[in-house]
C-alpha cells in the first residue's frame, strides 16, 4: 500500500541513506513502551506480568488472568526536532527530543475460558514510533560541497509507526507455577519521508503503509523452591512486511527474558517490594530506505514498592531503561522512569501514572487504567 507520491530517486535523493546515517533521532522504532504498570519500573516487569499487555509482550501471562479484564494506556508519542546543516548530499542532523502528542497507545481485553481452559486476550498496542521534523538553515542548505544549488525553506518529515493487533492465548499448568502462551501479531506499519523546500530538483516524498504477520510464544515460570521468584521468556518472529517498495524493511524479531523477585512482609507485613530485570533483544530486522535496522538489545531494570494504606495500595515505581540506538542515524534513548499507582483494596480497578526522563530532552508521561469484571 505504498503511496509514493513522488519517489524521487534523483542524485540527491539517492544519497539519503548516507544522509540519514548521521542523524540522531531517539530510537523508538522497534522498542516503544506502550505504557502499562511496568513503564514506571523501566519496563522491567513486562515479560513476567499478567495483564492485557501480555498478548503483546508475553502471551503466557494471559494464563494467570482469572477474570475478564480490560486495560487502556494513554501516553505521549515522543517526537524530535532536527536541525539540518551541512549539505543536502551530506547533511548533519542534530535532534532534540520532544514530548510529542498524546494518543491511546494500548487497548486490550482478556477473558478466561470456562473450566480453567486458559485465557484469550486481544490488544491493540503501539510498538514502534518515530516522528522527526527537520528544518534546514534559513539561509538555505547547499546541495553539495560544490554548492551546485541551494535548497531554501527545507522541511523534512520522517515518521514511522508500528501498530500491533495481537491475539494471544495463555494457560497455566495445574500447579500454576508454569504458564505458556502463544499468539499472533498483525502489524500495520506506516512510514513517511518527505522533504519540501525550494529547490531545482524534485525532493523525496514517500509514504505508505503495509501489514505483516508474526507469531509469539512465551512462558512464565515460578520455581517451586523459590516462589517469590518468577521468570518470563517470550519470542516473537521477525515480521516481514512484503516490502517491494523498500519503505518498510523487516520488523526485527524479539526475544525477551525477564525475572522478578518479590519481597513480602515489609513494614510489618503490610508492604511488598518487587524487583525486576528484563532484556529485549531485537534481531534479524531489515533496513528500509529511510530507516536503518540492526540488532538491538534493550535492558530494563526497575522496582515497585507497594505501600499499603488501610483502604488502598500505592505502588511506587522506579526504573531505568537502557535503550541503545538500533541502527545508523539513531541515538540511544536511555531513560530513568518512575511511577505511581493506585489500587483500592478489594477493588476491581487500578490506575498507574508513569513518567520517563529520557536522556537529551523531553519527558514521557503515560496513564494506564485497568478494570476487572466480576
Amino acid at each position: 500500500m505504498v503511496n509514493a507520491r513522488r519517489l524521487a530517486f534523483v542524485a540527491v535523493g539517492s544519497s539519503m541513506l548516507t544522509a540519514i546515517s548521521s542523524a540522531q533521532v531517539p530510537d523508538l522504532l522497534t522498542a516503544f513502551d506502550a505504557g502499562g504498570r511496568s513503564m514506571g519500573a523501566g519496563g522491567a516487569l513486562n515479560v513476567v506480568e499478567a495483564d492485557t499487555l501480555s498478548s503483546y509482550y508475553n502471551p503466557a501471562g494471559l494464563g494467570y488472568i482469572g477474570q475478564k479484564q480490560i486495560g487502556i494506556s494513554y501516553r505521549n508519542l515522543p517526537s524530535s526536532i532536527t536541525s539540518i546543516t551541512g549539505t543536502l548530499a551530506n547533511p548533519i542532523r542534530t535532534s532534540a527530543g520532544q514530548r510529542g502528542t498524546n494518543a491511546i497507545s494500548h487497548i486490550g481485553f482478556a477473558f478466561p475460558l470456562n473450566n480453567n481452559k486458559g485465557t484469550i486476550g486481544f490488544a491493540y498496542t503501539i510498538g514502534g514510533f518515530v516522528s522527526d521534523l527537520g528544518f534546514g538553515p534559513q539561509s538555505g542548505l547547499p546541495s553539495d560541497s560544490n554548492n551546485t544549488f541551494n535548497v531554501t525553506n527545507l522541511v523534512e518529515v520522517r515518521k514511522a509507526r508500528a501498530d500491533y493487533y495481537t491475539i494471544g492465548y495463555g494457560k497455566t499448568n495445574q500447579a500454576q507455577n508454569l504458564a505458556w502462551g502463544a499468539g499472533l501479531a498483525i502489524v500495520h506499519q506506516t512510514v513517511q519521508f518527505t522533504q519540501t523546500g525550494t529547490a531545482p530538483i524534485a525532493l523525496p516524498d514517500a509514504s505508505g503503509s503495509e501489514t505483516g504477520v508474526g507469531a509469539l510464544i512465551g512462558v512464565q515460570y515460578t520455581p517451586t523452591s523459590t516462589p517469590n521468584e518468577s521468570w518470563g521468556l517470550s519470542y516473537r518472529t521477525p515480521i516481514n512486511m512484503k516490502d517491494s517498495s523498500g519503505l518498510f524493511g523487516q520488523i526485527p524479531g524479539r526475544l525477551m527474558l525477564g525475572t522478578s523477585y518479590r519481597q513480602d512482609g515489609l513494614r510489618g507485613g503490610k508492604d511488598f517490594l518487587v524487583l525486576g530485570a528484563e532484556v529485549q533483544h531485537f534481531f534479524d530486522g531489515h533496513s528500509s530506505i529511510y530507516f536503518d535496522r540492526k540488532n538491538q538489545t534493550v535492558l530494563g531494570l526497575g522496582a515497585e514498592y507497594d505501600y499499603s494504606f488501610e483502604e488502598f495500595r500505592l505502588p511506587l515505581k522506579i526504573g531505568y531503561v537502557s535503550l541503545p540506538a538500533g541502527g545508523s542515524g539513531f541515538a540511544s534513548r536511555n531513560s530513568f522512569t518512575f511511577g505511581l499507582g493506585y489500587r483500592p483494596k478489594g477493588g476491581d480497578y487500578g490506575i498507574d501514572l508513569n513518567w520517563g526522563s529520557p536522556e537529551g530532552s523531553g519527558y514521557d508521561f503515560g496513564i494506564t487504567a485497568s478494570y476487572r469484571f466480576k
Partner: protein, 449 residues
C-alpha cells in the same frame, strides 16, 4: 523454553495432588458426605502434611499476588478432625460415638501440640471433652487456653464448618441475628448480663457469645420450676426465688431446647399446689422422658427425709404441710423419666439433718444442691434485680453451652466453677457459697437433660 516447560510439568503433579484432594474434601463436606470429606482431607495431608494458617500464595505475576482460594488457610488436618466430629455426631451407637469423638480429640490435640492454637480447635476439643465427660482434660484445656489468651490466632479454613459454630466461636452474628444487643458497639458488654459478661464460664472458652436465637427444641423434655419467694417459716423466705424461676424458664426455652408448653412454672405455691403441679406435669411426661426439676424456696429435712415447704407451711417440722421430695420424685419415676433436680435452698443443719440429706436409691435421678450442708444461699444484684447466685450460674452456663443435650456432670462442674469465680474471670476462685456437684442415682455422668 522447553526446559522450563519440563520443569514446570514435573512440579505440577505434587501441587495438583494436595489441592485436588483438598477441593474434593470441601466438595464432599458441602454434600454432607463427612466420611468422604475426611478421607479426602487426609489424602491432602498426605501430600502436603502441615496445616498452614496463612494464605497459600500461588505462583504468578509478581505485582498482583494470587492466593489459593482467595487467601483461605490450608487446614486438612483440622478439617479431617472436624469431619470425624460430624461423623461421630450422627453415630447412634454410643460406644462408637465416643470412640469417634476420641479420635477427633486426639487429632485436635496434635494440632495444639504443634502450637496451632486456633479458636476453632479449642472450641471443638472442648466440646468433645464436654460430650465425653472428660472433665480432667477439659479443665486442662481451659487452663491452657486461658494461658494462651489472644495468642490463639491460628487460622483454619472454616468454609465447611457449621456457620452456627463459627458464629459462636468468632462472636460474629449468624445471618439475620445481631451479635450484640442493639445500641452496643461490637465487643461492648452490657452491664449485668451474665451471658455476655462471662461468656464461657469455662476459662475463656467462648461458646456462645454472639449466638442468638433459640436452641432447637426436643419434645420429650419437660421442666417444673418452683419459685417460692415467700415463706412463713423463720428464715425460709427466698426473696429472689420468683424472679429466679422466671429467668430460668426463659433460659431453658432459649438455651436448652425446652418447648414452652413443656415448662411449668409455679411461683409462691402452697404445698398442695406444688404437688398438684408436679402431678400435672408427670401426667404429660412420656415414658422415658426427661424432667428438669428446679426448686428455690424453703426446704427442710425431718428425720432424714427432705421436704419442700409451701408458702403456707408454718412449722418446719409439720411434714403434713409440706411436699415430701421422695413423693414428688415418685411421680416422675413412675413415668420412667430421668429426673434432673436442682435445689436452691438454705441448708441449715438441725439435729444432724439438713435438706438434701435424703438420697434416692431408686429411679434415674440426679440432684444438685446450691450450697453445702449447713450453709446458706446468697444472691447478688444484676440490672437492678436480685438474683440467686446459683440460679444465675445455672442460667449462665445454659447460655454458655446452648445445647439441647446438656451433660449433667459437665454442667455441674461448670456451675460449680462459675459460682466459685463469682461470675468473674477464668481462673479458679473462691466463694462463700459452694454448691455440690450433681449426686447421681442410676444415671450416667454424661446423661443429658
Amino acid at each position: 523454553m522447553i526446559c522450563l516447560l519440563v520443569a514446570g510439568s514435573a512440579a505440577s503433579a505434587l501441587a495438583q495432588s494436595w489441592s485436588s484432594a483438598y477441593e474434593s474434601g470441601l466438595k464432599a463436606a458441602r454434600a454432607n458426605d463427612w466420611a468422604g470429606a475426611r478421607k479426602a482431607f487426609q489424602q491432602a495431608a498426605a501430600y502436603r502434611p502441615e496445616d498452614v494458617s496463612a494464605a497459600t500464595v500461588l505462583p504468578g505475576p509478581p505485582t498482583e499476588q494470587r492466593r489459593w482460594r482467595n487467601g483461605a488457610s490450608y487446614s486438612p488436618n483440622f478439617l479431617a478432625a472436624y469431619a470425624q466430629i460430624r461423623i461421630a455426631a450422627t453415630t447412634t451407637d454410643a460406644t462408637e460415638q465416643t470412640k469417634g469423638y476420641n479420635t477427633a480429640a486426639g487429632e485436635l490435640e496434635t494440632l495444639l501440640a504443634k502450637s496451632q492454637y486456633s479458636k476453632e480447635t479449642f472450641y471443638y476439643l472442648h466440646d468433645i471433652y464436654v460430650k465425653t465427660g472428660n472433665t480432667e482434660k477439659r479443665i486442662a484445656l481451659e487452663t491452657k487456653q486461658a494461658q494462651i489468651g489472644d495468642k490463639a490466632n491460628w487460622k483454619v479454613d472454616t468454609e465447611t464448618v457449621d456457620p452456627e459454630d463459627v458464629a459462636k466461636i468468632t462472636g460474629t452474628p449468624t445471618k439475620g441475628t445481631p451479635a450484640v444487643s442493639p445500641g452496643l458497639k461490637n465487643g461492648e458488654i452490657p452491664a449485668g448480663d451474665p451471658k455476655i459478661s462471662n461468656p464461657a464460664g469455662t476459662n475463656g472458652v467462648s461458646l456462645s457469645n454472639g449466638a442468638t436465637g433459640a436452641v432447637a427444641t426436643i419434645a420429650n423434655k419437660y421442666a417444673l420450676i418452683i419459685g417460692n419467694s415467700e415463706s412463713r417459716l423463720a428464715g425460709g423466705a427466698v426473696p429472689f426465688a420468683a424472679d429466679d424461676s422466671q429467668k430460668l424458664r426463659e433460659s431453658l426455652m432459649t438455651n436448652a431446647g425446652y418447648l414452652e408448653a413443656n415448662v411449668d412454672l409455679v411461683a409462691n405455691a402452697t404445698a398442695a399446689q406444688i404437688m398438684m403441679s408436679a402431678k400435672a406435669l408427670a401426667d404429660r411426661v412420656p415414658e422415658g422422658g426427661t424432667v428438669f426439676l428446679y426448686f428455690t424456696g424453703a426446704g427442710v429435712n425431718v428425720a432424714g427425709k427432705d421436704y419442700l415447704a409451701g408458702v403456707d407451711t408454718e412449722i418446719g417440722t409439720d411434714t403434713s404441710s409440706m411436699v415430701p421430695k421422695a413423693e414428688m420424685y415418685k411421680l416422675f419415676m413412675s413415668r420412667g423419666a430421668r429426673l434432673f433436680a436442682f435445689f436452691q435452698v438454705n441448708r441449715p443443719i438441725v439435729d444432724g439433718n439438713f435438706f438434701g440429706k435424703e438420697v434416692p436409691l431408686v429411679g434415674a435421678i440426679s440432684q444438685m444442691q446450691s450450697t453445702s450442708p449447713g450453709a446458706s444461699i446468697y444472691s447478688y444484684t444484676r440490672n437492678g434485680k436480685e438474683i440467686g447466685i446459683f440460679t444465675d450460674s445455672v442460667v449462665s452456663v445454659l447460655a454458655d453451652l446452648r445445647s439441647n443435650k446438656v451433660p449433667i456432670m459437665e454442667f455441674g462442674w461448670q456451675v460449680f466453677n462459675k459460682i466459685k469465680r463469682g461470675g468473674t474471670g477464668s481462673e479458679p476462685g473462691g466463694s462463700r457459697q459452694v454448691p455440690t456437684l450433681p449426686f447421681l442415682t442410676n444415671i450416667a455422668g454424661n446423661a443429658r437433660f
